[in-house]
Subunit: 333 residues, 2 copies
C-alpha cells in the first residue's frame, strides 16, 4: 500500500499557534473505491478561520481531531478516477486534507479550468474567498450606490475582494491595513478611495472620520478588536456591520473585552451580523458566476502570497497572524 506525507494537529494551540502544534506523519493511502478520485495536492489554502477549528468547542464546522489530518481548501490534480465525471489530469477544488496524495469522494469537489484562470485563483477570488467577500457584502452589508464601505483586514484575501466589489457597486471604499506597502497597494492596485495604516495611526477614531467624511454605512469586519472599537464611533444611522472575521481575537486565551457595542447599535439603529459561507450555499453558483464574469472583464484583481513546499504549510498558516501575507496565502506543492 502506498503512503503519503500528512500534517496532523498535535496539540490544540493555547493562544498563538506554534509549529510544535503540528506534526508531520506518514499515512497510508487506501484503495480507491468506486466513485472516488485519487488526487495530488497542487495548491493548499491556509486561512484564519482554521484557527477556530483547532479549538475543542462546537462550532459551525466540527473541530479538528487531535492526531488527525487538518483540512482546508485545496486545488489538486486527478491522478486516477473511478468517477465518470472526472478524468486523469483534471484539476479539482474543494476541502481536502493536508496530504500530498489522497483519495476523496467526488461530491464536494468541483472541476476547475486552468485555461480560464491560474489554478490558485480557485482558492481565492474565484473560490471560497471570493464568495465570502461577495456574499457577505451583498447579503449582509446590503450596500447601496453612493454609500461608504469600510473594510478592515483590507489587504487580506477577503478584504481586497470586498473593496473591489464595493467599487464595482458604486461605493466609496476605505480600507484599513497594517503596513504602508499594503495601504499603497489598496489604493493603486485595488482601487480603494482611501486606506489607513492602523499601525502608524495614533487616533483611529479620527483617522476613520477623516477618511469617511460621510460616516460609515457598511463595515466589513475581518479583524474585530481595537480597530472595530474605533469604527463604532463612525457608524451611520442604519449602518450594517458584516462580521466576517475577528483575527485579532482568535489567539486570545482569555475572552477578549471590547467597548460594549449595544449603546452604539441602539443609538444608530445599526446592525451586526456574523456568517460563514455555507449559510449562503444556495447562492454559491450565482456568486461564482458573477465573480468569474468580473474576473474575465478584468475588474477583479487579486494578490497572492505563495509559499512553496508541503513542509511549509504550518509556517504559512502561522504567518497569517503576523500579517505577513498580502492577499490570499497559498502553499504551492
Amino acid at each position: 500500500m502506498n503512503t503519503t506525507r500528512t500534517i496532523t494537529l498535535k496539540n490544540r494551540p493555547t493562544g498563538k499557534p506554534e509549529l510544535t502544534d503540528f506534526e508531520f506523519t506518514t499515512s497510508e493511502i487506501p484503495e480507491l473505491k468506486e466513485g472516488e478520485l485519487l488526487v495530488s495536492a497542487r495548491y493548499v489554502s491556509v486561512d484564519p478561520y482554521l484557527r477556530g477549528r483547532m479549538r475543542d468547542v462546537p462550532s459551525y464546522v466540527p473541530p479538528f481531531e487531535l492526531n488527525k489530518p487538518i483540512e482546508s481548501g485545496v486545488v489538486a490534480e486527478v491522478l486516477e478516477s473511478k468517477n465518470s465525471h472526472f478524468s486523469k489530469g483534471d484539476y479539482v477544488s474543494g476541502l481536502l486534507q493536508w496530504k500530498e496524495t489522497q483519495t476523496a469522494k467526488a461530491d464536494g469537489l468541483i472541476k476547475v479550468d486552468s485555461d480560464k484562470a491560474p489554478l490558485s485563483a480557485y482558492l481565492g477570488v474565484l473560490g471560497m474567498t471570493g464568495l465570502t467577500a461577495y456574499l457577505g457584502l451583498t447579503e449582509i452589508g446590503k450596500p447601496k450606490k453612493g454609500e461608504t464601505l469600510l473594510v478592515s483586514g483590507a489587504a487580506g484575501a477577503v478584504g481586497s475582494v470586498v473593496g473591489q466589489v464595493g467599487k464595482i457597486l458604486g461605493l466609496r471604499v476605505v480600507g484599513i491595513a497594517g503596513t504602508d506597502e499594503k495601504v499603497e497597494m489598496l489604493k493603486s492596485e485595488f482601487g480603494f478611495d482611501e486606506a489607513i495604516n492602523y499601525k502608524t495611526t495614533e487616533n483611529m477614531v479620527e483617522a476613520i472620520a477623516n477618511s469617511c467624511p460621510d460616516g460609515v454605512d457598511v463595515y466589513f469586519d475581518n479583524v474585530g478588536g481595537a480597530i472595530s472599537e474605533a469604527v463604532l464611533f463612525n457608524i451611520n444611522k442604519f449602518s450594517r456591520t458584516v462580521n466576517c472575521g475577528a483575527i485579532s481575537e482568535y489567539n486570545n486565551i482569555e475572552l477578549p473585552k471590547s467597548i460594549s457595542v449595544q449603546p452604539f447599535l441602539i443609538q444608530k439603529s445599526s446592525s451586526m451580523k456574523g456568517f460563514v459561507i455555507s449559510d449562503f450555499a444556495d447562492k454559491h453558483p450565482e456568486g461564482l458566476r458573477q465573480l468569474t464574469e468580473w474576473f474575465n472583464q478584468g475588474k477583479l484583481k487579486y494578490t497572492e502570497t505563495i509559499k512553496e513546499g508541503f513542509e511549509n504549510i504550518p509556517q504559512a498558516f502561522l504567518d497569517l497572524f503576523d500579517g505577513k501575507n498580502k492577499g490570499k496565502m497559498i502553499v504551492k506543492l
Copy 2:
C-alpha cells in the same frame, strides 16, 4: 399672562443622574395660536431612554438643552382648543414638556379614549412602550413559533409586553429580572415559562442554559452589560438579538467594556440590531391596532408603578435606574 410649574435640565448628569440635575422653575404660558391646544398634563411617562437625551452628543433625537424643559410621553387633558379636531375635555397623548400646563401643536398628539382603557395605558401597553415591544420583537427578532425568546429587563414596561407577545406568537419565553417578586410576577401574571433572578444567580451562563434547554433564538435585550455577556454563550445558530436598551450601561462615565461579541456572532451566524421606535413609524398604526385588539381580548396585561405629584417626576425617573419600578413607571398629576 399665566404661568406654569416646569422642570428643566440643570446639569448634564455625570454617571447616575441626581435630583440636583433637575430644576423646578416657573415659565410663562404663551397665547394660544390657531391650530394649537392648551393642555394640562395628567400622566407623565419617565423612561430610561431619556438618560441618553441628557448627554450632549448627537443621537437619534437631539439632546435636551440645559435650562430648557425636559419632555417625555404625556397624557394630557385639553383645556382649550383652537384646532377643529380636538375639543375641550378630550384626552391626548404625545411628546410634551414637563409642565403642568402648556400650549402644544396638535400634530404629533393623538386623541385617546378613557372609556376603552385607563388613560395611563396609552403611555404603556397601548402607546410607545407597547409599540417598542411589539415592533422590536416582530421586525427585528422575527420570531418563529416554537422558538425560544429570552427577555432581559423582563419586568420592565417593554419587557413584560415583549414576553406576552412572545407567548401569543407561540414561543417559549424566559425572562430575566432583579427580584424574586418580579420573577414570580413574570410567571404568574405575564405567562412567562421561566424567569431568572439575576441578582441571586451566581452563574448566569448556566442558569440561562437550564432555562433555555434548546438555546436562545431571539434575545430581546433591555439591559446590556454582564447579563448580555452571559446570553452570548447560549445563542443558537442564526439567532437574533434585539438591542432595545442598555440600561445597565447608561450611567457609566467611562465607556463600558464587555466580552467581544464578534467571535460569538461569527460562530453562530447571529445578528444584533438596535432600533428606536421612530424607525418603524409607518408601522405604528398597524402595531397599535394589533396591541389594542389583544388588549381588548384580555391577552395583554400590564403593570404600572404610579407615583403621584408633579414634584416627584425627577425622583420617579431616578428610581428607574434602581429597578424600583414594576412595569411602566408613570407619574400621575
